[in-house]
Amino acid sequence: MTTITIQAEHGLHARPLAEFVKMAAAYTEEITLSKGAKSANAKSLIKMMSLGVKKGEEITLNVEGNPEAEAILADFLVKMV
């Protein structure tokens, strides 16, 4: 599990999420993103949108059994603008 603080000015909004979901969908592993008690399938744009992640909020990324993929996806979320 990797914890990330979102720096993107407008949080996780539609366009960056679209790119992220596309990346996540390329993996066969189960990928979840959580904010507080809410957890969402990272391969579903709608579920990710429903998390409503804003700038400065902390989220947790988990890629089941694939730390390399987790590092790549976490890096994308960190660098998202």
């Binding site: 000015e9 407008h10 366009r15 596309k22």
Partner: protein
């Protein structure tokens, strides 16, 4: 004599009044290159943005600039009002429905002051993107929106 089974058609209305164009005409790769899926776009002439079909609001951004709707047949669409409109932080957007609300086709979901989008120098083109290609066989534009042929 035999009967050809007619495939089910799902009618999708444009979310607002305006010109309907293929999604490939949206000048943003996320939409125009179908990164999210197929769909269409409308160049709005009116600030009332409605449900394109009967369904449940699955997601609504706090800023009102985008929402997702899911139909009982499980087709889900993202309606993104204007490009880069997230930066308006809700200015000019009035949200009338919330997540979890059941809506009818044509029911207003967000009211937008299009002059705010214009003054900010943003493009008001509104893509309607279908997020689950496995739920649709064929997609065609009509004068009112689009028709999807269901599997």
């Amino acid at each position: 004599m035999f009967f050809k089974r007619k495939s089910k058609e799902f009618t999708v209305l444009a979310p607002t009044k305006g010109k309907i164009v293929p999604i490939t005409e949206v000048p943003d790769p996320t939409f125009g290159e179908k990164m999210l899926g197929d769909g269409f776009a409308v160049i709005p002439k009116d600030g009332n943005f409605c449900a394109p079909f009967d369904g449940v609001i699955e997601s609504m951004f706090d800023t009102g600039h985008a929402f997702a709707l899911t139909a009982p047949n499980e087709c889900s669409a993202l309606i993104h009002i204007g490009l880069d409109t997230v930066g308006l932080e809700g200015r000019g957007f009035t949200i009338l429905k919330k997540e979890g609300d059941t809506v009818k086709a044509g029911e207003t979901i967000v009211q937008v002051d299009l002059s705010v989008i214009a003054e900010a120098g943003l493009n008001p083109i509104t893509p309607v993107v279908f997020l689950n290609p496995d739920k649709m066989n064929q997609f065609s534009l009509t004068c009112d929106g689009a028709t999807i042929t269901l599997p």
